[in-house]
Every structure is written in C-alpha cells, then in structure tokens.
C-alpha cells in the first residue's frame, strides 16, 4: 500500500506542472484539454473525398452533376441555396466557407497551447492578405473590391487600413505593430516605397520569419507534435528555398538578396542553402537536390513535357503524403495543421475539376493531386 502511494506521489497531476518539468505533456493527459478537438478533427478527416468520389466527379458532365454528387459526401447541401446555373467561383467560395467555419469552431474551443498553435497557422494567411491588399492598392483598386478576395482566416482588425501605408516602415508603425505579425517584421523595415519587387521581398521575408518562429514554437512543445510538425515545416522551408531559387533566375533579384529569403529551419540549412545561393540555373538546383534523398526523388521525373508531372505537383504530392502520415500518430497538434492543408488541397482539386468541366477541356482533368 505504501509503495502504491509512493508511486502515485511521483506522478504530477496538473497539466501545467507537466509542462514545467519536461517540456512535454504526458500522453494520457492530452485528452483533458484537447480530446474533443482531436476527435472532431479525425471525424472531419474521415470525410475527405476518396478515390471513388474523385472518379465520380471526373465523370460529371455539368456543374449541376458535380453539385449532385457532392451532396452525397460530407459536404452535404452546402450548395443547396445557390441559384442554378452555378459558377466555379461560387463553388470555390462555398468550399472555403465550410472549411473556415470548421476551423473557427475548433479555434473557439481551443485552450493553450493549442490556441497559440492554431493562431500560428492563421499568420500565414494574414501575410498573404496583407500582400494582396498592398498589391491591389498599388494598382489603384478600391479597398472594398479587394476585401472579399482576402482569406477569412487571415483577417485582423486593422486590415482595411493597409492602404494608408506607402512605405514599409509606415506599414509597420501604423498597421502591423499591434498585430501578431509585428515580430516577423524585423529586417524589412525600410524607407523605400512599396512597389512590386519590394512587396515580394517583404512577403518572403515575413514568411521566412514566420516559418522559423513556428518551427521553434513546435520544437518547444516537444513530443510527437515536435516530431510531426518539424518534419512538415522543414519540408515547407526547403520547398520555398527551391521555388524562390527557380523563380529568381532572370529577374533583378541578386544572389545575396536571394540568400536572405531562405528559411533556415529546413534540412537544406546550412550547406544546401549556401549551395542554392550560388546556383545559376535549373541544373545547379537539381544538383543541390541530389544530395538529399527525398528531394532527389522529387526532382527526378519532373518536367514540363506532357505526361510528366511538374515540380510543383510533385511538391504538392510530397506535402500531402506527409500530412496524411501525421494522422498515424495520436495525441499531437499536427493533425490540425495537416487537416487544414489537406482540405485546402481537396478544395483546389475540386475547383480544378470544376474548371475543366465548365470549360469543356477535359484533357487534363485527371491532374488533381490524389489525397487518400
């Protein structure tokens, strides 16, 4: 009996003290705060469209058939109140609205540390929204026209006042300093006016800071969350490094500037990134990828000839694979991130198929990314 009491006294009973000692929570205590949401997200994940659904979708002749078929999936009657004929943009909006509603529900029920984790996911959308609005303002579009195009998950209170700023330091001081993005702004504050090139650089610098911050946050959570998320984020960082490099050939972006945009939380850091910084054409990039087994497999067989998959598609497929694999572990936050990304990929797939049907150009209708 006394032995039993001794054993029991060694087990910390409060979740907070669990964090304090080891930086990670006992798996058995995960469900106290996060059990409902993990169960919910796994239920949502089971509703992701399967191969049979996609086979039915590509056989649809009109968008009405597509709507009829989606009624029998988890989407249900989400298009029920739209007047026919339906347009692809309406389908896209409604798909996104459903995903946003699910995410908001989960965010509303989340407590720390899951709440911070879900907030981190939304920062990426905030960055995209800010860049969209500034680009629109540059092209003299009124803000009311641009607001519906923003992603709902990335809105914050001062977002509509973005067009006040004409230089990046103004953008920081006036608008972003109260938002969570303030920390990511560090290096980009300058007095130059915002123009096309600058905006892209600001976007990539913000995103780099965001990725690295997210990566270190996941690492501090420890446990399976760190394992799963750091793998996914490392791939994201390397993918961005590759894409930035490939897109920068033939533009005004110098090699040194390009090097500053590479996120450093991936597998390519430090040697791969240094090699990428020196690369001058696509062949060099491919040679850098040769040193890393997963990336070599992605670059092989990728090309722009018909019948081959493009490099972007291969990156998408790899990302989807990592996200699906994250569901094999339990008691971690990676499932929430993975679910969001998989659902987005599914939305992109459905919109691709819908566009092919609407424009009656069915040659490439099978080029969606297979998820499950």
């Amino acid at each position: 009996m006394t032995q039993l009491i001794n054993i029991v006294s060694h087990i910390k009973t409060s979740p907070e003290s669990c964090y304090a000692t080891s930086g990670r929570m006992l798996d058995s205590l995960f469900n106290i705060d996060n059990g409902y949401l993990e169960g919910l997200v796994r239920g949502f994940k089971n509703g992701i469209l399967k191969e049979t659904d996609y086979l039915n979708l590509v056989q649809c002749e009109t968008l009405d058939d597509l709507k009829l078929h989606l009624q029998s999936t988890d989407y249900g009657h989400f298009l029920a109140n739209e007047a026919s004929p339906i347009q692809v943009s309406v389908i896209d909006d409604k798909l996104r609205d459903k995903l946003v509603a699910e995410f908001q529900h989960m965010r509303n029920h989340a407590v720390e540390p899951l709440a911070t984790f879900l907030d981190y996911i939304t920062y990426g959308y905030m960055i995209d929204n800010i860049v969209l609005l500034i680009t629109g303002a540059l092209h003299q579009r009124p803000i009311s026209e641009l607001m519906p195009k923003c992603h709902p998950l990335g809105t914050f209170e001062q977002i509509e006042a973005i067009n006040v700023a004409s230089t990046s330091s103004e953008l920081y001081n006036a608008v972003l300093v109260d938002t969570p993005l303030a920390d990511f702004f560090g290096e980009c504050v300058s007095e130059q006016d915002l123009d096309e090139l600058n905006i892209e650089i600001i976007r990539n610098t913000l995103y780099k800071a965001y990725l690295e911050s997210f990566y270190s946050y996941c690492k501090s959570l420890g446990g399976i969350t760190a394992e799963v998320m750091c793998e996914i984020l490392a791939f994201e960082a390397d993918r961005r490094a590759f894409i930035i490099t490939l897109n920068s050939f033939g533009t005004e972006l110098t090699n040194e500037d390009r090097k500053k945009l590479y996120p450093q939380c991936g597998k390519l850091y430090p040697d791969g990134l240094a090699a990428l910084a020196r690369a001058d054409d696509a062949e060099n990039v491919k040679q850098v990828a040769e040193f890393y087994t997963e990336y070599r497999a992605l670059f092989e067989g990728a090309g722009s000839n018909p019948g081959e998959k493009t490099l972007e598609d291969k990156f998408f497929e790899h990302e989807v694979k990592l996200n699906v694999n994250s569901f094999l572990h339990q008691f971690h936050f990676g499932v929430f991130y993975a679910y969001l990304k998989l659902k987005e990929q599914e939305c992109r797939n459905i919109v691709w198929i819908a566009e092919c049907i609407a424009q009656k150009h069915r040659a490439k209708i099978d080029n969606y990314i297979h998820i499950l």
């Binding site: 078929h69 006040v164 103004e170």
Partner: protein, 622 residues
C-alpha cells in the same frame, strides 16, 4: 391468430407500366403506402439516371420555397398548417408551379433590394442628423470656451468639456480642416490608435456616443455607433485621415462650418427623414402582404413538391423496357393487400387514360421483408421491439405480448400509487389531446419521444397504480384501507419503557391470524425491519416473474419451430433449453415457494423462522 402475431405474408411482384401512366400509378401507390420498390439500377450513378432532370427541377423549386419560408419566418408571420394532404400534381402542372415560384421569388427579391436601398438612405440621413446635433456641441465650445487654464491636459472622454480651439478668429487663422463621420462603437479604440500612429499625433479626434442603436440595412440587427470629428492641418493629413476612415468603414458626411448652415441642413434632413419613413413603411406593408398571401399556401406547395420529387426518385429505380415502351418495376406487396394494389393501379391508369398496368407475381428464394401491420396504439410497442432487432420473415412477433409485459415489469419496479396516478394522468392527457398535439410538429426531440410513447406511458401509469396498491406505497407512505391485522397488544408501561417492541405473529392478541386482504399490511411502514422484509419480498417476486417470462419466451419458440417445420430444432434446441432452465431456475422458484409455505411462526421449532434455511446457500450447494 391476429395479424400482429406473425409478420405478414409478402409477395414479390413485377409491374409493367406504360410510360404515360407510370407517373400517376406511382402516385396512387404512394398514397396507398403498402408497396416497397426494389432498386433495379443499383450501379447507376445518381446523375446518370433517367429522371435526373426532373429531380433537379424539384430541387430548384424546393430552394425557392425554402427562401420564401425563411422570409416568412423573418417577419414572424404564422404559417397556416391545416394538416391537409394534397395529391401530387400532374407533370404538366409542375411547370405552372415552377412559374409561380419564380414569380414570387423575383418579386420578393425586388422588394427586399428596394427596402435595403431605402433603409440605407434612412440610415445615412439619421447619422447625418446625429452628426449635426453632436458637432453643434463641439463647435459651440470653440465659440464659448469655459474658463479653464490653458495648460490643462487634453483628455478624450464623453464629458465634452475640454476644447482645443480658443476662439473662432484663431480657428480661421490656423486653416484647420475637419472631417465628421460615424463609426461603429467597438472600432473606436483601434481607430484612434491607428490615427495617432499614422499621423504621428498631428490630428485631434473628438467623439461622442449615439444613444439609440441604428439598424444595419444588410443584416437587420441593431448596432451602436459613435459620432466623431477629426481636426487636422494640411492636405496630406487629410488624404491620410480619409484613407483610414475608409479602412475602418466609417462613413463620412459633409458638415458645414457655420452654425446657420448647420441649422438649415438639420431642417432639410428632418423633412427628408419624414418622407423616407412613409415610403419605408409602405414598402414594408407591400412586402408583408406578399408574404402573408404566400404563407397561406406554402405548406401545401412544399408537400406537392416533395411528392413529385419522391415519385421521380421511385421512377428512377425502374428499368426501361424499350421494346414495349414501358417501365418494369419490382416490388414487395403484402398478399392480403393484392386487391388494393390492383385497384390503385386501375385508378392510376384511368387518370392518365392508357393501357392498364400488369401485376405479376414472381416466385423467389429471397427472404422477403418483415411487415407488421400496426395502428397508432401498437406502433410504439412494435418500435420498442424493433430496436432490439427486427424479427425475421414470418417469425412470431413479440410485440403483442409486450403490450402487457413491458408496462407490467416497469410497474413492478416503479410501484407507487401517487406517482403512478401522475404518470397515468400525463399519459392520458397526451392520448386525449392526440390530434391537436400531433398537428403542432415541433422539433423538440424530448417532447417527440414522450409523445410517441404516450400509450406506453399511460399503461405504465395504470399498472404502476396497481402494483403501488399491492406494495401499499402512496408517495412512499402506506394507507390503511381495510384495517391492519397487527395490533400492539402491550400494556402502557411496557410501551413507555421500551424504545422498540416486537410483534409476534404467533400471538393471537398481536396478529389476527388472517392477512391484510389486498396488498401489504400498513403496519410494515412503522416497523424497523421493513427494509429487510420488503427487499426480500421484492427480490423474490422479481425472480419469479423473470423466470416465468423467460420460460414463456422459450415455449413460444416451439410455435416457430412447428411453423417452419424444423422438428430437429425442437429436439436439439427446445428440449435442452427447457431442461436447463427447469433444473436450475424453476428449481430456484420452487425453493422460494417452499420456504414461504413451509416455514413460519407459530408451530414447531424446526419450521420456525429461526430455522429457515438460506435459499442462496441451498441453491449454490445444490
């Protein structure tokens, strides 16, 4: 035996329908409600079926009706539900319905957009009126500043006491421009902060809250807003302020500087507001009239559309017979209703005026579906049984026995006259007011469960009253109807000196040697060993009833074996079950009865209560 004893005999039939009469025949069969169709196209996709276009048209009509219903509910108009059951309209009437709904929807949409535009106008004018009123206060202070020291700190709050401008002449000298507008109250802190940051503190904001909430034209909900006025110097700041105001969705209004202009503007706004009010109320009236006329028919329309849709869904299950230009259907029909189905088909073909439909019986080895013909009373019990598992075809249906055993076993557990009366009254009220209550059609799940089981609740209540009388339990108190058989025959002094006394049933003075006529003697309520006695009694009763019940169920299976001609089952299943049950549990029941009868007070020591053996130990020791 009666029709509920076994499930009905079913026949698989093939139906040949002419294309013209298919719709009407299916409509008639649908009204009859006795036919189950099989899906002859299971591997065809939903959008490749024959009548998919008609189903889509029905979906469109449903969407329009749902829109109408939403608008009707928004205005709070009660929907008239007469409970009528309109027949499915003919296919050519479908077009009329579609046109009617289209017209209604367009009209409603037009009225709504007009109302929205008018409300927007109204909102602008109201805001302008408030601005003119509040800015009057701001500017007044500029003209007549209170006597305050000039180095007093400027603070922002609703007191509106502090001013920036010392007098009007200075005001004109500094060329200070201003912008007045209205903003949502919750945005003010962020708005102020953004202004301060973006203009580096070179603008001055005054704000005052509006006391009455305003109606937002798009959503219709009431929001609180505040009036603000921003003073600045120079054009650049003006551009910046304007951009920030746009960003926070603050509406700006032109506000004249001179008080006389402001007063004039205020009068103009007032007259325009009055005009707008009348126009707005007329628009609302028109919309109300449209919705009221729609509300009268909307239930009937909805039913018609549902019926059309279900007819086409059923038609989608049929096979197309190209040779004879007809449709082939397969369905299960209860044999007893063969004539009714023939009659319905004849009615259908007469309506559409074509060749009669042919009904053929097929023989099959497939297991037919189980069909119990229930009425509103037996339906609840049948549902209860089905939740444990639907009986196989032509098996004995436990439901008719459940009508009595279920409430009775519940009553054995419940056993209270007082609560039983309440339960019986509740059930009785639901049964008495059946029609109006079922017409209400609420969504409340809990109420629907209770209402669906109203007959069960009534029976449970009645039986509980009976068992309550046996247990002599009225709200946990006993009643003495016939006079107790026990008498406390002790003299006063004994009673005064002892806290507890025992009454001996062997003593004639203390116990009239015949028991209480009906139920438990009320004297038990006062005794200390009441729980001992009650518990032992109730447990033994429960065991006896339970075992009798189980035995009954096993014996019923003999009828099933006889019906299906499975003699082997009788020897290999029934006989061993009976032997097992009897040797163990009927033996236990016999032990209980023997102990009750043989052992008692007033007799030999060997049959006295102190020598009565424990049934449990006897049973375990075998």
């Amino acid at each position: 035996m009666g029709s509920l004893f076994r499930s009905e005999e079913m026949a698989l039939c093939q139906l040949f329908l002419q294309s013209e009469s298919a719709y009407t025949c299916v409509s008639e069969l649908g009204e009859l409600g006795l036919v189950q169709f099989r899906d002859l196209n299971p591997d065809v996709n939903a959008f490749q079926r024959k009548f998919v276009n008609e189903v889509r048209r029905c979906d469109e009509m449903e969407r329009k009706l749902r829109y109408l219903e939403r608008e009707i509910r928004k205005d709070g108009i009660p929907v008239l539900d007469t409970g009528e059951n309109p027949e499915a309209p003919m296919p050519r009437e479908m077009i009329d319905l579609e046109v009617k709904f289209e017209k209604l929807e367009n009209e409603l949409k037009e009225v709504n957009s007009n109302a929205e535009a008018l409300k927007r106008n109204y909102l602008e004018l109201t805001e302008l009126k408030h601005i003119l009123k509040k800015t009057q206060v701001f500017f007044d202070e500029a003209l007549y500043p209170p006597n305050l020291p000039y180095d007093q700190e400027v603070y922002f709050d609703d007191d509106e006491r502090i001013n920036l401008l010392m007098d009007t002449s200075l005001h004109h000298l500094m060329h200070i421009g201003f912008v007045a507008g209205v903003i949502l109250r919750e945005r003010i802190p962020a708005f102020e902060r953004m202004l301060w940051r973006a203009c580096r503190g070179n603008v001055f904001l005054r704000q005052a809250e509006m006391d009455d909430p305003l109606e937002d034209p798009a959503t219709g909900e009431q929001v609180y807003k505040s009036v603000f006025i921003i003073f600045f110097q120079g054009d650049q700041l003006k551009m910046r302020v304007k951009k920030i105001c746009e960003g926070f969705r603050a509406t700006m209004y032109p506000c004249p500087e001179a008080p006389a202009d402001r007063r004039e503007m205020a009068m103009g706004v007032k007259t325009r507001l009055d005009d707008l009010n009348t126009v707005l109320s007329q628009t609302q009236d028109h919309r109300h009239r449209v919705l009221v006329s729609a509300a009268r028919n909307i239930r009937a329309w909805m039913m018609k559309v549902w019926k059309i849709k279900s007819i086409y869904h059923t038609l989608n299950m049929f096979n197309l017979d190209v040779i004879q230009n007809g449709l082939i259907a397969e369905c299960w029909i209860p044999v007893a209703n063969w004539e009714d189905v023939q009659l319905a088909l004849r009615r259908g073909t007469e309506k559409s005026g074509s060749l009669p439909a042919i009904l053929n019986r097929l023989s099959t080895l497939e297991a037919p579906p189980t069909f119990h013909r229930t009425n509103k009373f037996t339906k609840a019990f049948q549902n209860l049984i089905d939740s444990y598992g639907v009986a196989t075809y032509r098996e004995i249906n436990p439901a008719p026995f459940t009508i009595i055993t279920f409430p009775f076993l519940f009553a054995i557990m419940f056993g209270d006259v007082g609560h039983g009366i309440i339960m019986a009254l509740f059930g009785g009220w639901m049964v008495w007011r059946e029609k109006p209550l079922s017409a209400k059609k609420t969504d409340n799940e809990i109420w629907n469960i209770f209402f669906g089981g109203r007959y069960i609740i009534l029976l449970m209540g009645l039986f509980s009253m009976y068992t309550g009388l046996i247990y002599n339990d009225v709200f946990s108190k006993s009643i003495n109807l016939f006079g107790s058989s026990w008498h406390g025959a002790y003299n006063d002094s004994t009673i005064q000196q002892n806290k507890e006394l025992t009454l001996d049933p062997a003593d004639v003075k203390q116990y009239d040697q015949y028991p209480y006529p009906f139920g438990l003697d009320p004297m038990w309520q006062l005794s200390n060993n009441k729980i001992n006695f009650y518990n032992s009694y109730k447990m033994k009763i429960s065991i006896i009833f339970g075992i009798v019940h189980m035995l009954f169920g096993v014996i019923l299976s003999v009828w099933n074996h006889k019906f299906f001609n499975k003699a082997m089952n009788i020897y290999c299943e029934f006989i061993p079950q009976i032997i097992f049950l009897t040797c163990l549990f009927v033996y236990l029941v016999l032990l209980v009865f023997h102990k009750w009868v043989w052992y008692g007070a007033g007799g030999d020591v060997s049959t006295s209560p102190s020598c009565a053996p424990s049934i449990l130990i006897t049973f375990i020791n075998m």
